[in-house]
């Protein structure tokens, strides 16, 4: 089947997609679905992509887009997990929580369909052991059938054949546009901007760092960039109380950090 990527089979049996991979990783680490250690899952995933690259695998378009979906899914999870567990007030927080619930719901639903598919497969196999009586009509009865009405000229028939044989242009698939955004915002670029600013002045609040953002997307990108910087130990966070302003301290030396070091998670080169 076109969907089975040989590369994935090494790691997970029956890989069929990002949700499958997520489920597989979750199962592999025997984690409760609500307690997913995102870092582990993410690291595992990134390790996998790197290995693929080292092997010099060509990136098929399908495969690449599946990776993007996985990455987006992981980011969703990551973002949602960073919300404080306590009270939430802003609409955005609620939206994030809902996104997380939705994601878990999706995973559970996906798992349910996987299980049911197993049942279906078993039934189809068992039922395949019964053969229906499907014999040609006895000649006696076949000869009783009314004479066919045939009105087609050879030319009409040829036109019919031509239409039937014409390679069908793939019917327009509804393209999911929900994940597309107006413009592209690079996490790496935003990290660079933040790096420069924080090296000039530290600490800064998240509010201050995003004050000039002209779209939510830039805010999100800067948030993700901060997570990256945090992972690279370039910044530290400081928050006095839940939902209070988040202060960001620059902890890396001036020359120790550059956006080039940023994890390739977002800026993977083909």
């Amino acid at each position: 089947m076109a969907e089975t990527k040989p590369g994935f089979e090494v790691r997970l049996a029956n890989f069929t997609g990002p949700l499958d991979l997520l489920l597989g990783l979750i199962a592999k680490h025997q984690l409760d679905i609500t307690e997913v250690a995102i870092a582990t899952v993410t690291d595992e995933f990134i390790k996998y992509i790197r290995k693929l690259q080292e092997l010099g695998e060509d990136w098929a378009l399908d495969e690449a887009s599946e990776f993007l979906v996985i990455a987006a899914t992981l980011l969703d999870l990551k973002a949602a997990r960073l919300l404080p567990a306590g009270e939430v007030e802003s609409d955005e927080d609620i939206a994030l929580l809902e996104a997380r619930d939705l994601l878990f719901a999706r995973l559970l639903q996906y798992k349910a369909f996987k299980q049911v598919a197993g049942l279906l497969g078993g039934t189809l196999h068992d039922e395949g052991r019964r053969f229906p009586r499907q014999v040609a009509l006895e000649e006696h009865f076949a000869s009783m059938l009314p004479e066919l009405v045939w009105k087609h000229t050879p030319e009409q028939f040829a036109a019919l054949a031509a239409a039937a044989l014409r390679p069908k242009a793939p019917k327009p698939t509804e393209v999911g546009l929900g994940h597309l955004h107006g413009g592209t915002v690079s996490v790496k670029e935003q990290a660079e901007i933040l790096g420069i600013r924080l090296q000039q002045e530290s600490p800064l609040t998240f509010r201050a760092l995003t004050a000039d953002a002209d779209s939510t997307l830039v805010v999100v990108a800067r948030f993700l960039a901060l997570l990256e910087l945090y992972r690279d130990r370039a910044v530290a966070f400081d928050q006095l109380s839940p939902l209070a302003d988040l202060a960001i301290h620059w902890t890396a030396g001036e020359r120790e950090w550059s956006a080039e070091n940023l994890s390739e998670e977002y800026e993977e080169q083909p």
Binding site: F113, V116, T123, G128, Q134, F141, E174
Partner: protein, 221 residues
């Protein structure tokens, strides 16, 4: 032809059937020999000029007859003279996809399989099975929605399932204009069930997610 509704007609037909060797049961059997798709009880009743009740009774008789049963000593003689045997036949009568049809008994699948090459369908891949499951439980459903649930592009799998006759076009979504898919009666036949309602329940596999449909519609791409 006498109408099955008129009492005279019915009596004629019945007495006529009764005079044939084996009676109405054998006549029903004869018809079942030429059907090449499941025959509904309505069709059979109309064709044999019997009431629905009579046809159902005869179908049940034939089914039990083919399955064989252990007769107790006092009944054995009667059973035998009525044309009943106690040992199962090589075939069975099943009510599938809304109609009745004769099938070879699964015990003999290995032997029958040597003769019937066509119709032996290759196994579906895991991806095809999962896609089929989503379509079966969410029909009528668009490819995009199936993709969203499965997390992958399902175009080629949907094409394969349609070629295998397991799913079909069910019109277009009035809102998005996307083609909707549903399972076919061939799917029911392959599953050995009468209708989609005969599919195993999905809910036990979906713990605490009764509201999932709403979730999904909100997330619809």
């Amino acid at each position: 032809m006498n109408s099955a509704d008129s009492p005279e007609g019915r009596n004629d037909a019945q007495s006529w059937l009764r005079h044939l060797p084996g009676g109405a049961k054998a006549a029903l059997e004869a018809v079942l020999m030429v059907v090449d798709q499941p025959a509904t009880e309505d069709e059979l009743a109309a064709g044999l000029e019997l009431t629905l009740g009579e046809v159902r009774k005869l179908l049940a008789d034939l089914q039990a007859d083919y399955n064989g049963y252990t007769v107790k000593a006092p009944d054995e003689e009667q059973a035998s003279s009525a044309g009943f045997g106690s040992s199962p036949r090589g075939f069975e009568l099943r009510n599938i996809a809304g109609g009745w049809r004769i099938y070879s008994r699964p015990d003999f699948a290995d032997i029958v399989g040597k003769y019937v090459l066509e119709g032996q369908t290759a196994r579906l891949t895991q991806a095809a099975l999962e896609t089929l499951a989503v379509i079966a439980y969410r029909q009528p459903v668009s490819r995009a929605r199936v993709s969203a649930i499965r997390g992958v592009n399902v175009d080629s799998v949907v094409r394969t399932l349609a070629q295998r006759g397991l799913i079909e076009d069910a019109g277009t979504d009035p809102e998005s204009g996307a083609i909707l898919y549903r399972t076919t009666s061939y799917f029911l036949e392959r599953m050995g069930i009468s209708s989609v309602a005969g599919l195993p329940e999905l809910s036990p596999h979906l713990p605490g997610l009764e509201g999932i449909a709403e979730f999904y519609d909100a997330d619809r791409m």
